[in-house]
Amino acid sequence: MTTATAKPSLGDRWSKAWTRDRRRIIVAAVVAALLVIGLGGLDPEDWFVTIMRGLATGAITFLVASGLSLILGLMDVLNLAHGELFMLGAYLGWTAYIRPDTTVDLLAPILITIAPFALWALWRPLGRKVAALGSRWAGWLLVAVGLGGWWWAWRLFPLAIWDPSVYAESPITFSLAFDIGTLVPLPAGTFGGPALIAVLAMLVAASIAAVGLVSFNPTGSPRPSAKGIGASIVALAAGLSILAWREGLVEGLFAMNPTLRFFLAGIVSVIVISAIGAGVEVALIRPLYDRPIYQLMITLGFGFILIELVREVWGRPEFTMPKPPAFNGIGEGCPGQGIGDLFSGCSTIEMFGARIRTYNELFIVGIGIIVLVGVSLLIKRTRIGMVIRAGVQDRHMVEALGVNVRVVFMGVFAMGAGLAALGGVLAGPSIGLSPEMGGRLLLSALIALAIGGLTSFPGAAVGAVLVGILQQIIIRYGQTGIPLPWLEEPFKPSPPLVPASTVLLMIVILLVLPNGLLGKAEH
């Protein structure tokens, strides 16, 4: 009981760190030296651009990797659908941004569907009766009937939507139309029957499905909470008012400042994907916590479904997402001079003799830093963060202390999905939308995690930035070529070597440091 209370001196701390983390420090130094040498071979203005681009790639990778890392650390689940959540986030963002009319049409039935679900407790007496039948199949049957009825009602709702198989009405065309300013609302759809029947049918179908779901766990009070009733009324009212005032709403959204609409689209996408993430945890991951390999499989299967869904709805070809106009200006007064002109509306600004794109290299990196700081604060300073940090080590003990870990799991899964969606919306304007974008990014994110330490949040950031910068250096050398003494022509790494280089970095680092740069040994 004689622990020294005096703070150890800096020298002491260094020598301690050195003996404990010698290998880590050496590897970090070697990697840093390699990056410096790599950058040193470029022209001065080149290396600044390359670093900025690397940071931008790193920021997107980080947004995917951070959620992956939180989920992996807390729940031991490697969510292989994370890339697809990123992709779906981008597509939803595009839809809310470029096609507010379609979004509004989608919102109404979704809000109406939420209403019966918000009254969860109300269905418990019925659910108990269903559960009393003895077989879980009764519950599943109700869910299936509810889904079928819902689908029928859904078809009655009006929906102004594109058609990916017709070029003139495909997302590609709409993106182009937005860029040249000729985007107009689609002709409004009409109800396929009496509107009242459609709405009622949807409410009934959703209630049936809710009873089916409740029957799996019908214990508890049959009285809905005030919050539940409130949410239900708000959802229903919002859904109905959207139906009633659709025209005005669509006009208003089209008249809105497009950059603001872009931000709004981002928020919508993040909320929707977070909800999907929470649903995935509850429905697919939770039944399988004692069978980890099956969790891998099921997330993989879910990812397949999302890819196919996106191919069906938005079409297979790649298309662009227009940049928000505030970061896309040219002409008068452009390019901007220095960081002060970030919000001047120019698409590029001059910094250190190099031309930096405001959206790709500054805006994305800025959001990435904000998220890094925000989530770090959340983890370090809040009670939720405390529970997460403790849960990563021993979730059973956390639960034995009286914390409902399941709710925390669901929340973290939702947050991870939301971060991925944010990454998707941000990446849309810079890398374009394609059903395959998720798979590529998941690979980068996994590599970043392996480099940084699988379950370490700062590790995710370090790994993502390293992967991003390395990728951009190789891309840059692919254009300029590396003069090698034994070759006549400078060696130009071909594009496939970009992922290969990061994979090799990962393998080397994992062999020297099995837990990555910042990871801890498994307990």
């Binding site: 690979l443 996994l446 392996a450």
Partner: protein, 358 residues
Amino acid sequence: MSLVDLATTRKPWIVRHRLLLLGVLAAVLFPFVIAIVVDGAPISAVWENADGNAKFLQGLAIEVVVLALYAMSYDLVLGVSGLLSFGHAMFFAVGAYSLGILLKSAGLGLVPSLLIVMGIAVLVALLFAVVLPRVKGIGFALVTLGLASVTGIIISSSEFKDYTGADVGLQGVPSPDWLNPTDQRFRFYLVSMGVLVLVYLLYQRLVDSPTGKVLVAVRDNEDRALMLGYSTFWYKTFALIVASMTAALAGSLHTLYQPIVTPEVAGLGFTVAALLMILIGGVGTVSGAIVGAAVFRLTEFYLDRWFEGLSNLLIGAGYILLVLFLPYGIVGTWRTRSNRIGEGRSRLARLLSGSKGE
């Protein structure tokens, strides 16, 4: 001889393998039945390799055999030994491409080529084994995924276009006349069936052998196996070598049968296919891999035919339902059932013979 004796005596080989023998018989008769019933052709159509449903379905069956061998090798790695490898496709791709290159570019015969391919397969397995002691669990999954994707990148990179055909794929591999996949379809079919039966028997023996028992022990609790004095590393390396050789063999058959080998066989998607197949059949059951491969290929084929664009969506949904509702796969579930039936039977036997059981 009492009923009790009946329940405990080891049955003769032919009884224990009655399902396998029936399967082999059915497989041999299958083309003839199709030829007569569906095509309405004479029996001779089969060995004359006349075009028709019989020939087409034999081709589909050969594809199933290739997948079954590949899935079985993955079951040895994941199901029996418990190694989470995401780079299994590399074993297959290396086999497929090296056989193709040896036959086409080096102009070697089939037998020496196959021998060299097996040697290469051992080397690839050793490459995986090198990382074994360093990284565990998800780390191993990521490193193997990395190794496989580097292989995929090399295969599809333009630098080696002359040998691998890059993005397009490896085409024009000469197959020996006596084993031509079109002109000698029936022979190819019989040979591939034979290979599958041999490898299956070998795997059964391996899993039942002391080595197999140790592998399972390592999977269930590596620390305990280590404490018991087993060098778990060498057991796992052995499993990797056997699996790599089997997958390379599957890859070789693939190259011989398919007119074109694409770089996709090195991708994560192809490892996932293996995972899917053993999941359908039942992880760790060996014979489940064959069932899984058949179900996988046939569903894929017919879903594609009937639903076209939606087929992948349905496969994904089926996959999720499978994991949630049939977690032990077809063979696994069937075994648990028949165990229960078996238990009931032996209880009955005890009752009848008057001995007191628990």
